[in-house]
């Protein structure tokens, strides 16, 4: 879908936000799918179907990022969310963590 280059940044930003959030939701779905697969609660057919759906979603998201030219916009939304999460989690340092422990936050 061609983008009207004269369009303002607001549209880019909004698209970036929407796609970033979609990406995060899909990542959560992938995460849960893997857990089910590892637990053995998916049979071969279900694994195959789930895999195809997730692949389609992935390709659709990549396609949108490419077509709308919002790769940077999505990246910066993700980075911003990561920082916000960091700030929140920074307040919960457990005894076995050292300050700066970022396991799980590096994406």
């Amino acid at each position: 879908m061609p983008i009207d280059i004269k369009e303002d940044n607001v549209r880019q930003g909004l698209l970036g936000l929407v796609v970033a959030l979609t990406e995060i939701i899909v990542e959560t779905l992938k995460h849960q799918a893997i857990r089910r697969m590892e637990r053995g609660s998916l049979d071969e057919e279900e694994t195959e179907r789930l895999g195809r759906v997730l692949k389609e979603l992935d390709l659709a998201i990549e396609g949108m990022k490419e077509d709308y030219g919002i790769r940077e916009s999505v990246r910066s939304v993700r980075d911003g969310l990561d920082s916000a999460l960091d700030d929140i989690l920074g307040g919960f340092i457990s005894e076995d963590m050292e300050p700066g422990d970022k396991s799980g936050l590096l994406s």
Binding site: E44, L50, R52, G90, E98, S103
Partner: protein, 261 residues
């Protein structure tokens, strides 16, 4: 501080302020002289051996980024000079102004009421300077190394080659997850090595700002309070960290101890 009255708007122009640079300990004979913000003459406010370095400066709202930058440079230069002269300083961050006419008195009162604490803090930083250590890593190089050296990942990858369609994709997702977890664990290990090594040597503060630069992502950002004599030992730790392929250390300083006051 008196509020300016509506009937005399000209009084707003007369608003005075005292801009604060740092606190130090020592003798102001010969007097400490320096040029501060906007070239204003810097002076010392004393109380019982403690010295606050300040200058007159009306509180003002400045939106010009270039001007702010000039001011920050002036601020740093005064603090640096004070550190040279007095040996130990407790620097204020940029922009501390006490508004009103009686800034000098209020500072003196504060020096009196916080005398003990300020002296202790000065002792803590005496003879030391602040150094910044940041560690970056190249995500691509680290991923490549992991795929090359890690048996489990190599095994998973081979397994994936035999699969097709949706099942292959599921496997790919799993592989990505394992790689991501291993990378995060590696980054953590690196941070822990650095933090443990450095904190045995000196006081360390972990900074919360993480960014990326020079094509790498920051995996550690710490400030250290060090004596000259400890720099070599710190250097040895940093060299070990930097030696690893894909990991880069950036070492900055010395600074006055902004993070340790």
């Amino acid at each position: 501080m008196e509020k300016p009255t509506a009937s005399a708007p000209a009084e707003l122009q007369g608003l005075r302020g005292t801009y604060l640079y740092c606190v130090a300990e020592g003798d102001v004979d010969p007097p400490f002289a320096a040029a501060g913000l906007e070239g204003k003459e810097v002076y010392a406010i004393e109380y019982m051996g403690l010295v606050a370095i300040a200058c007159d400066c009306p509180p003002s709202r400045v939106e010009d980024a270039a001007r702010v930058e000039k001011w920050m440079i002036a601020h740093q230069s005064v603090v640096d000079k004070a550190m040279e002269r007095f040996g130990a300083v407790l620097p204020f961050g940029f922009g501390r102004i006490i508004a009103g006419d009686s800034g000098g008195n209020r500072v003196r009162e504060w020096l009196e009421s916080s005398h003990g604490i300020l002296k202790r803090k000065l002792e803590r930083v005496r003879g030391k300077a602040e150094y910044g250590v940041q560690v970056f890593w190249d995500q691509e190089i680290m991923t490549r190394r992991l795929m090359r050296d890690n048996q489990r990942i190599e095994g998973l990858r081979k397994e994936g080659e035999e699969k097709r369609g949706g099942t292959a994709f599921m496997h790919e997702i799993k592989l990505e997850k394992v790689i991501k977890e291993d990378l995060a664990a590696r980054a953590n290990e690196c941070f822990r090595f650095l933090y443990r090594g450095v904190s045995e040597l000196c006081e360390v503060k972990v900074e919360r700002v993480y960014g990326s630069a020079e094509g790498g992502r920051m995996i550690a950002n710490i400030s250290c309070l060090l004596k000259d004599t400890q720099i070599k030992a710190l250097g040895e730790i940093l060299e070990k960290v930097n030696d690893e392929e894909g990991i880069y250390v950036r070492f900055t300083g010395p600074w006055p101890p902004y993070s340790f006051v």
